[in-house]
């Protein structure tokens, strides 16, 4: 009996290693940490005021406090998006790898839902995508049949993950524009003040200010690149996930003719059905 089990698991492992879809899925899941750039930049966005403060006048600092509150209130929701996307990808990878992956706690935490949506520039589509992703993860926790489970998760997770990644992409655009204005406030203040520090007794001040200006320039240029890179990483994961979705086996009954099956699936992949907005229609 034991030997049969051994042979069976060897066969399973071989099948596992040989299935290109499962390999692809595992590779995609391995790239989930690349989404972490979004987290760092969310945090940087949240802390904008801290960095701006030394350069602001008293009146400007007062105005900034209100914006600072908005940024802090929205921050947990940004992180929730990232958590949902990475948890889904990791769960997908775990299914494809045959491991048991306990993501019950994480989903429970995520299900405590997102509150401040109206203030973040996210649309209903994004919210819906997020909640569907959470529901899907809850269900996947009980399902173990490998390729079938992976396919089901890819199929059902397609729109929610795409929607969540879209939301992250949109937010990154706002972060980047916020970053541009922060940069121009900080560097602009230095640029405006330095020319007036030209008296002989101000030489030390002018030298320190110019050196500080150079550091800040470097910092902002690097941050600009990080925004671009984070957006590219999100796009890459979105594209690979979409490619996996297009490569799914046809659903039983959908296309009985094998010759037509691929065409039918890729057509469905090219034009994914829109997410239903009526919440009552969903389980």
């Amino acid at each position: 009996m034991k030997r049969y089990l051994c042979i069976l698991s060897c066969l399973l492992l071989a099948a596992c290693a040989g299935n290109p879809r499962l390999q692809e899925v595992r590779a995609l899941a391995d790239d989930a940490p690349k989404l972490a750039g979004f987290n760092d930049l969310s945090q940087r966005y949240r802390d904008t005021y801290l960095r701006e403060q030394p350069y602001l006048s008293a009146a400007a600092a007062q105005r900034e406090e209100a914006i600072d509150r908005k940024r802090h209130e929205a921050y947990p929701d940004f992180i929730a998006l990232h958590t949902a996307a990475t948890t889904y990808l990791r769960a997908l990878g775990a299914l494809a790898g045959g491991d048991t992956y306990n993501f019950g706690d994480q989903t429970k935490h995520m299900a405590e839902s997102i509150k401040a949506w109206p203030d973040t520039g996210l649309t209903d589509r994004h919210i819906d995508a997020y909640s569907r992703l959470v529901r899907l993860l809850m269900r996947a926790a009980t399902s173990r049949e490998q390729d079938k489970a992976v396919q089901a998760m890819l199929r059902e997770g397609y729109e929610p993950l795409q929607g969540t990644l879209d939301a992250m992409h949109t937010l990154l655009r706002f972060f980047n524009k916020n970053h541009d204005n922060e940069q121009r406030i900080v560097l602009g203040m230095l640029e405006v003040e330095i020319p007036y520090a030209d008296a002989p007794r101000d030489r030390l001040l002018a030298a320190l200010a110019r050196s500080h200006q150079q550091e800040k320039l470097k910092e902002y240029r690097l941050l600009g690149l990080r925004h671009t890179l984070a957006a590219q990483n999100i796009d890459a994961i979105r594209d690979r996930h979409a490619a996996l979705y297009r490569g799914l086996d046809p659903l039983p009954g959908a296309a009985p003719d094998g010759a037509n099956a691929n065409g039918a699936v890729s057509a469905a992949g090219d034009a994914p059905p829109t997410i239903p907005t009526a919440k009552g229609a969903q389980p």
Binding site: L56, K70, D119, G121, F174, K177, I185, M189, Y196
Partner: protein, 154 residues
Amino acid sequence: MSLTASLPQDLETLADSLSASADELHQRIMRGIRQQQRLEGSHIKGGPAPLTQGAAQALFENEVALRQQANSLYADAASHSLEGMGTTLPELLRLSDQARVAIRHIERVKELAGISADLLAVAAAIAAARPEHLVAPLESLKKQLAARQTQESA
């Protein structure tokens, strides 16, 4: 088109426009500062008016405020904050574009301060969703821009 039509994209566009106006204002401030450095007080006709440190600081304060309003709109980008506003976004966009162009060409510091302050008041009314605060600066901005246009064509 109503204000609530296609948010938050429109809000983002408006914030972009405010950022661009701030960019223009910054260029103008820097030209004024360079003029001040070059002339050491003796004014040459035709170029941008030179700026004293106090004037430059006051104008930069307007620039910062414009950027803050833009960032505030990015942070909102939400429809509910604009419901019930008594004007349309396209008109605001057009005006702020016009203001941006005007800032580029203004030679006199007083006009520069006036137009940037009006633009700022408009932006603040939008960001705070206070339509009742929008009318006065909007009219003043229109008047200033119109006056500039007749002045240029004359």
